[in-house]
C-alpha cells in the first residue's frame, strides 16, 4: 500500500497548531521513554513504518487469499506491540483515537469481506493518522527538549478551575480514544469519573456565571454522552458529542477566567 507522504507535512502543521494546548496526564502503565521523546524518535519512526508494513502485508494477504488468511484480529496486537503507542497516547489523545478508528476500520472492512478498494480506503485513513501522530510526537519532543512540557505524571491533579476544565477536556479526548478502542465500558467509566471528580468541583462556580451552560453540560455528561456510547454509534458520532462539549467547556473557561479576575482578595 502506498504511503501518503504528501499528507505528512500537512499533518505536522496541523499538529503544531494543536499541540501547545495538549499535555495529557497518563494513567495505566506507560514506559519512562515518554519523558525522553527525543532519544526515541528513531525508534518511533521505525515502529510506525513497521506497523504500516504489517498492515500492508495483511491487506495484500486479504486481496490474494481472503479474509480468513488475513487474520484481521492481529491489527490490535500489532499496534499494542509498539512503544510509539504510549508516546502518542500521552501527548496527543485526539490522534490516538483516530489511529484506533483506523485500525478498526481496516479490521471491520476485512471481516465484512468488502471489496479491496474499500479496505485500501480505510488503510489510507489509518496511515494518515499514524504519520500525523509521528509528527505530533516529534513536535512534542522539541517542546520537551526546551522544557516546555511537564513530566508525564500519574497522580497530579489540577489546582485551579481553569486547569480543571483543561483536564476535563483532555479526559473527554480519552473517552473518544477508549471508544475507538472498542472499550465502551471504560469510556463510560471515564465520563462518570470525570464528572464526579473534576467537573462537579467547578460547576458550582460556573453556575453563578451561566446557569444554562451548566444545565447543558450536566445533560451532556449524564445523558447525551453516555447514550452516544451505549448506542454503539460510530466513533465520529461520539467525537461529535465530545467536540460540542469541549466547545462549551471553552466558553466555561472564559467565564471562570473573567470571574476569577474580578474576585475579591482574601486579605
Amino acid at each position: 500500500m502506498k504511503v501518503l507522504l504528501r499528507n505528512c507535512h500537512k499533518a505536522l502543521l496541523t499538529a503544531s497548531l494543536m499541540l501547545a494546548a495538549v499535555q495529557a496526564s497518563a494513567n495505566g502503565a506507560i514506559g519512562e521513554h515518554v519523558n525522553h521523546l527525543q532519544d526515541n524518535l528513531g525508534e518511533y519512526t521505525e515502529e510506525v513504518n513497521w506497523v504500516i508494513g504489517k498492515i500492508d502485508t495483511m491487506v495484500d494477504t486479504y486481496e490474494a487469499k481472503g479474509a480468513k488468511a488475513a487474520e484481521s484480529a492481529q491489527v490490535i496486537e500489532i499496534w499494542e506491540a509498539v512503544d510509539f503507542h504510549a508516546a502518542i497516547e500521552t501527548n496527543y489523545v485526539p490522534v490516538y483515537a483516530s489511529i484506533w478508528q483506523g485500525l478498526y476500520g481496516v479490521k471491520e472492512a476485512i471481516d465484512a469481506e468488502k471489496p479491496v478498494e474499500d479496505v485500501w480506503a480505510e488503510q489510507e485513513k489509518l496511515e494518515q493518522s499514524l504519520w500525523q501522530a509521528l509528527g505530533a510526537v516529534k513536535l512534542a519532543a522539541q517542546y520537551q527538549q526546551r522544557g516546555l512540557l511537564d513530566e508525564i505524571k500519574t497522580t497530579a491533579g489540577p489546582t485551579t478551575p481553569i486547569a480543571t476544565l483543561d483536564e476535563v477536556k483532555q479526559r473527554l479526548d480519552r473517552v473518544v480514544a477508549k471508544y475507538a478502542e472498542q472499550l465502551s465500558e471504560e469510556a463510560t467509566s471515564i465520563v462518570h469519573d470525570t464528572y464526579l471528580n473534576l467537573f462537579e468541583g467547578v460547576e458550582g462556580a460556573l453556575i453563578e456565571q451561566d446557569a444554562k451552560l451548566v444545565e447543558e453540560l450536566e445533560k451532556d455528561f449524564n445523558v447525551t454522552l453516555p447514550k452516544a456510547i451505549s448506542g454503539k454509534g460510530s466513533v465520529d458520532d461520539v467525537r461529535g458529542v465530545v467536540s460540542d462539549m469541549q466547545a462549551k467547556l471553552d466558553r466555561a473557561k472564559e467565564l471562570l477566567k473573567k470571574a476569577e479576575s474580578e474576585r475579591k482578595d482574601v486579605f
Partner: protein, 345 residues
Amino acid sequence: MQRRTFIQALAGASLLGSLPLAASRALAATAGALSVDDLPPLKGELTLYLGRGEGGLYENVLQAIQKRNPDFTLNIRRGVTAALANTIVAEAKAGVRRADVFWAVDSGAIGLVNDAGLARKLPADLTGQLKEGFRYDNWSPVTGRIRTLPYNTGKLSADQIPDSVMALPDSGLSIGWAPAYASFQSFVTAMRLLEGEKATGEWLKAMNKRGKNYAGELGVVMAVERGEVDVGFANHYYTLRLKAGKPDAKVDLAFTKNDAGCLVNASGILALSEGELPVNFIRYLLTREVQSYLASEAYEIPLVGGVAPPEGLPSLATISPPKMDLTRLADLRPTLDLMRSVGVL
C-alpha cells in the same frame, strides 16, 4: 461555663505563648474571629495535605497566606480527601510523618486520622473561637455546610414540606437524590447514628420507591428548579449558587428540625506535628478575613463567631441541626453496606 473555661484557658501562659498580646486581648474580648492583623507572622516550613475542595478557592486562601508571610514555605500535597487520610494513617504505621497539617473537605476523614491517635491537641484559645457545638480538642472545623431540602417554589410552599426527614417518604412528594454522592452518604451515616440501623434501612427502602436518581447534588437542585421533582436532598450552597446565577430560579430552601436532614457538616483541619507553626497556620484559616472570603465566594458557613453567613442562608441560630460529633461520620462502611443491602447503591 464554656466562656469561663475559655478565659481560664487564656490565662494559662503556655496556651498564649504563640500569640501576641493584642491577639490575646482580642480573643478575650470577643471569643470570636480575629483579624489576620492580630496574628503572628508565619516563619518556617510546613507540609499540608489538602483534600480537594471548593474549585480553587482553598488554593486562593493558601496563596494569600503564603504571600502575606514571605518567610513561610508551604508544601502542598493534594488528593482525594479520603485517600489522603488513609495515606496519613499508613505513613504513621510505617513510622513516617510527611504531613504537618491535614485540611480535609469532610470531617469523616478527620475522624479517621483522629481515631488513629495522630492529631495533636489544639490550644483552647483556638478551639474557643469556634461556635458552640463545633469545638473539638484535636481538630478544628473550618467552614460548614448544611443539609437542606431544596423545593420548587412554583409547586410548593415551605409549609407543605415535612419538618421531619423521616416523614418524607410518606409525604406524597416526588424527590430527587444522589445516593452515590459523598455528602449524601455522610447524611445517611448521621441518620444511622441518630435513628438506628433498622429505621434508616426502612427509610432508604421507602425512599428508593419515590426517589429519582441524579449523579450529583447540583443536578438534584437543577432538577428541582425545572420542576422535574418537587423536592430534593442537597447541601445548601448549590441552591445559593444557582440563585446567584439565575435570580428568578424557582427554588428555595427548606429545613427539617433536629434530625439528619439538617445536619451541619464541616471541612476540618488538624495538626500532625508539634510546635507553634502548625497551630498558627490553623489560626489563619479561622480569621475573619478567611472565614468571610469562604462565606462570600464559596457560600460556606463560617463557624467562627462574628462572621456573617453567606447571603440567602438563614443564620445557624434559626436552624436546629442535630447534635453530632462530626468525627463519627468517619464510620462510613456500615452506611455503604446498608445502602447496598437495600438496593440503593
